[in-house]
């Protein structure tokens, strides 16, 4: 048990004085994030909340290595990332991060199973038997056994989002980033999706960071990070129930 505890406290992500500005050098230069400090461990199941325009999306892009900071640095699995070139950032992203977006974002030309395997396909080419087994397993875990051959447009919104979650987990990422993952799902489906996050967090030791507007959802997380005007104004742990 001590091994797991140790793994659980292992650092996944650390922000050190992270800053992001837009329109650098122009009269309209604007700093959106003002030197953020934050650490996420494997066991963390956190939500990121804040009003519109507080910089949540910008931060999420930085965390997902889709964008690079202006100053400070972001350590992912202990590796400094600010100066990585696109190639290496892409590789690190593929290996360490799973994404779940608000609008499911599946590739319509591929089946549910292929969509789940996509992160493996784009990095490793032809799927191995093990990848296929894992993808089927994940689809089963999100309750979509038997839907492998369906195209995204043949699935409901909730089903699509569950496929997207399975896809985010296929690479066994250290960090799962979810941007309003339940934004356009009904309450019941949304609760189911959260349940899945919770389970994967516990079973795979994958840190989860959910960006949400919904206070009810952030309440079920273990930790709530509040971002206002580009600064972290609070970072609270909830007692687990």
């Amino acid at each position: 048990m001590s091994d797991l505890a140790q793994l659980g406290s292992a650092e996944v992500l650390r922000l050190a004085g992270l800053r992001k500005s837009y329109n650098i050098g122009l009269p309209t230069e604007l700093e959106v994030l003002h030197g953020l400090e934050l650490t996420l461990a494997r066991r963390d199941f956190a939500s990121l909340v804040g009003p519109s325009g507080s910089g949540k999306s910008t931060l999420l892009n930085l965390l997902g290595l889709l964008d690079s900071p202006t100053a400070g640095d972001l350590y992912l699995l202990g590796q400094a990332t600010r100066l990585l070139d696109d190639e290496r950032r892409t590789a690190l992203r593929a290996q360490a991060i799973g994404f779940v977006f608000q609008f499911h974002h599946l590739i319509p030309a591929f089946t549910a199973l292929e969509n789940v395997m996509m992160p493996m396909l784009v990095t490793h080419g032809r799927p191995s038997a093990e990848t296929i087994t894992r993808a089927r397993g994940l689809l089963e875990e999100v309750g979509l056994a038997g839907f492998e051959g369906r195209k995204p447009q043949e699935l409901s919104g909730g089903q699509q989002q569950r496929v997207a979650i399975a896809r985010a987990l296929i690479t066994r990422p250290a960090l799962l980033l979810a941007d309003e993952p339940t934004g356009n799902l009904d309450t019941k489906t949304a609760a189911g999706v959260f349940e899945l996050f919770r389970r994967f967090n516990r079973e795979y030791g994958c840190a989860v960071l959910v960006v949400t507007h919904d206070p009810r959802l952030s309440a079920v997380c273990d930790r709530t990070i509040t971002l206002v005007d580009g600064s972290i104004v609070s970072d609270e742990l909830h007692s687990r129930t």
Partner: protein, 400 residues
């Protein structure tokens, strides 16, 4: 490369209407190119074949005789009034050695020594001016397949036998086995037996040519042991000019290729080839623009998918390839259909057309057209592919 091709093919299959339309566009373009190239090649081949059916590719003759001026002492000025020399009929010096050299000349297929000069053919009171052609039938046949054009008798020269053109035979009322007289001036005359009558289909030749063997012609023209022309055919007819230049430089003789003697025809053929090339080029350009515009639209339509793929670890290079492959596949598929259609057009022309000539389709034409179309497709895809690769994933994902 597997995943890039898979994504590319899925994208093409998903955008079925777009893909079909552009494929039709490419196919039409390629079929036009295949048809017009085959048509012009067939036409030109036909014209060249007809022209070269009755003449050598290169004629080697003795150089013109010119006046030579004695060298002047330094500081002297000279005023020259020159009467240019009449070019008498004369033999090529050492033609046996020259022929031996030409026989081994690279690119030369056949060499035939010929002695030719003017004479009168007479029967009774009828007189016709003719051109004597003394030749060695075995060698000459390799230049002009005369036996194919014999309409009566046989190709037999020497020992008092001659072969004459059909129009000349008509003019003199001669048939095979008849006799006639040849007078080459200065009392040199001979009586000959008609062994065969030919018809080359060229009025000038059918009316004037009288074929004899070398020996008889040499004595008639008073050039014992001499030949006036060496006829040559080469492997590649369009290198004749170059070969002629090299032969002239090597032997010091006058060498003229069919390209020089048929300058007008060659000019017409060149212009035709150039206009074909231009039509092909512009059709290819418009096909390329078609592919580029369809893929550009596709990049815009798929911006969000590109963003997702990038977020999931697709590298820029891979994204680039996805669109390059689409261009290549469009080019390849479209050109395959187009080549097939082009073949169809050629077949229709050959079967139902005016039937003035037959269009052969070179076996290399279709693979060449397809290779060029595939390359064109890939190049045309370069601009949209670069745009796809350079899309900022952050922006792309939020694209609606």
């Amino acid at each position: 490369m597997w995943i890039e091709s898979t994504i590319a093919l899925r994208f093409l299959r998903e955008g079925r209407a777009q893909t079909t339309l552009i494929l039709i566009g490419i196919a039409v373009g390629v079929s036009v190119i295949v048809f017009i190239v085959a048509l012009i090649r067939g036409l030109q081949g036909n014209i060249v074949e007809r022209t070269l059916g009755t003449q050598a590719h290169i004629k080697v003759e003795a150089p013109d005789e010119i006046n030579r001026l004695a060298p002047l002492p330094a500081g002297t000025t000279r005023l020259v009034l020159e009467t240019r020399r009449a070019q008498r009929l004369r033999s090529i010096n050492n033609w046996q050695q020259v022929m031996a050299v030409l026989d081994g000349f690279p690119g030369v297929r056949a060499v035939s020594p010929v002695i030719s000069g003017p004479a009168f053919a007479r029967r009774g009171n009828a007189v016709e001016s003719v051109a004597l052609v003394g030749m060695d039938p075995i060698r000459y046949q390799r230049i002009i397949p005369l036996s194919e054009d014999i309409v009566a008798g046989q190709l037999k020269v020497g020992a008092g036998d001659a072969v004459i053109g059909r129009l000349l035979a008509d003019d003199l009322g001669l048939k095979v086995g008849d006799k006639f007289r040849l007078a080459a001036g200065l009392g040199r005359e001979a009586q000959l037996n008609i062994a065969g009558i030919f018809e080359l289909g060229v009025r000038e030749l059918d009316q004037r040519y009288v074929y004899l063997d070398l020996k008889q012609t040499q004595s008639l023209l008073d050039l014992p042991g001499g030949v006036t022309v060496i006829d040559i055919t080469v492997e590649d007819i369009f290198t004749a000019q170059d070969a002629a230049r090299r032969i002239a430089a090597l032997t010091g003789l006058k060498a003229e290729s069919w390209l020089d003697t048929n300058a007008q025809l060659v000019n017409a053929l060149r212009s035709q080839s150039m206009s074909t090339a231009m039509i092909s080029f512009f059709v290819a350009v418009s096909v390329a623009f078609g592919i580029a515009s369809v893929l550009s639209i596709s990049v815009v339509q798929r911006t969000r998918e590109i963003g997702i793929l990038r977020a999931m670890g697709t590298r820029q290079q891979q994204m680039l390839k996805v669109f390059l492959v689409q261009g290549a596949v469009l080019g390849l598929t479209g050109s395959a259909i187009g080549a097939f259609a082009g073949y169809g057009l050629v077949w229709v022309f050959n079967t139902f057309g005016p039937k003035l000539f037959y269009i052969p389709v070179a076996p290399t034409l279709v693979p060449l057209a397809m290779a060029i179309a595939t390359l064109t497709g890939t190049v045309a895809a370069a601009v949209p592919a670069r745009r796809a690769a350079r899309l900022d994933p952050v922006v792309a994902i939020r694209h609606v």
